[in-house]
Symmetry: C2
Subunit: 219 residues, 2 copies
DNA sequence: ACTCGATGTCTACAGTTGTAGACCTAGTTC
DNA sequence: GAACTAGGTCTACAACTGTAGACATCGAGT
């Protein structure tokens, strides 16, 4: 908090984009985005209840109160952060016949012990304890990967199968990245990817060989 | 906190087991157990960081400090609670050829929207954000359902396949009970159970090593 | 009857939390 | 160059956290 004999009085700055590193120009949109980025990272690493708004604000180079100014509340910030985390189509890779294999390999790679990557499933798992956060994430999932995946899957019951694919992914992230259970950590990556692909394959398939005359309409 | 014109001076009580309801006799073991029970319930409902020791103590009818007396710290209490939650063989039901089907049906039933049951996976998911809790749970899982399931599975890579079964279970609990995603909530329970059984079937099978072409072993 | 250890409670502390309201300041416009 | 507003900060508060240490009390052994 030792304040500012800093490059504060630089008189003319024709490029507002690159200031002194970390010191942002007064730009509401950029500041908002910086807060949002910091929030996604922090929520992913520590979960909704695991970070305070002060932490996030500091990472964004602002004060805690600015978060409430821009996002209304911590919960409002989390809602936008969750949406931003799930919006990119990164958890479902590949389409059509390649979806199961591609997604499985991506999952295995991203949850490998050495690759400490962030991702929406970590945000989800580490924030699941909070009911308000859970509701927000349910909606974000429904809006983004749930819908995307449902459209991608053929046949009846696509919604439930899509959510099961997400469930498998969440479970693998949990066991492998968060808990770090031993057997999954030591498993051969290629074999693990094949195994997960088999699971996805089951869920991509429209209908299991159920008891006959299952009355559920297959389109 | 209006205190006690309570039945406090009842002079002779030949049955120490049934006192006034809620008021326990001075019995270290019983009190310890009451705290542990309350802890399992509270941690399952709200997660490690979601409950305070005061809450747990109150549910057990004691003071917060007694928890530290008996369990050393909140973390120590959680370690015993997690162990107690995972020790009973409730998440893997059935053996041998019936394991996949039984476990799948149990899972589908326990995560149904109407059945608001508690269970170790809820404790796990809602406490996953805390690294100390995560480590404790990894060990508890390795000690109980992980080991149990690994012994139950035939063939090579049993450990990894066991942990994948647990991953699938955790994912289903997450999506269905904690998030409450819509498609899984509305899915026909029997169909859901069949679908999950197919997943478990893949993981019970010792070796897939088949390229994705149609090779799921449904009996 | 009376002590004495086991069992349990009280008070307190040093932090941290989310956020409300008052305040300051930079950058632009007249 | 002075005023005005958008952009940001400061101070404060009330509630809550885990736990340390001193204190109280029950109930049994003598």
């Amino acid at each position: 908090m030792v304040d500012t004999p800093a490059p504060h009085t630089s008189p003319d700055r024709p490029e507002p984009e690159d200031r002194a590193p970390g010191r942002r120009r007064r730009d509401a949109a950029a500041t908002r985005q910086a807060i949002l980025d910091a929030a996604v990272t922090a929520f992913t690493r520590y979960g909704y209840d695991g970070v305070g708004v002060r932490d996030i604000a500091q990472r964004a180079g602002v004060t805690a109160m600015l978060i409430n100014r821009y996002f209304g509340s911590k919960e409002g910030l989390f809602a936008e952060a969750a949406d931003a985390a799930f919006a990119p189509r990164s958890v479902i890779t590949g389409t059509g016949a390649e979806l199961a294999g591609e997604t499985a390999r991506t999952l295995a790679a991203r949850t490998a012990p050495e690759a400490e990557e962030l991702g929406p499933f970590l945000l989800m798992l580490r924030s699941a304890a909070n009911p308000a956060a859970a509701k927000i994430m349910r909606e974000a999932i429904g809006r983004h990967p749930g819908r995307h995946l449902t459209e991608e899957l053929p046949g009846a019951g696509a919604g439930a199968r899509a959510e099961l694919i997400l469930a498998v992914q969440a479970g693998v992230w949990l066991m492998r990245s968060i808990l770090g259970t031993t057997a999954l950590a030591e498993e051969d990556p290629a074999e693990l990817a094949r195994r997960i692909e088999s699971l996805f394959q089951v869920l991509v398939t429209p209908e299991t060989d159920a008891p006959p005359a299952g009355g559920r309409g297959v389109e």
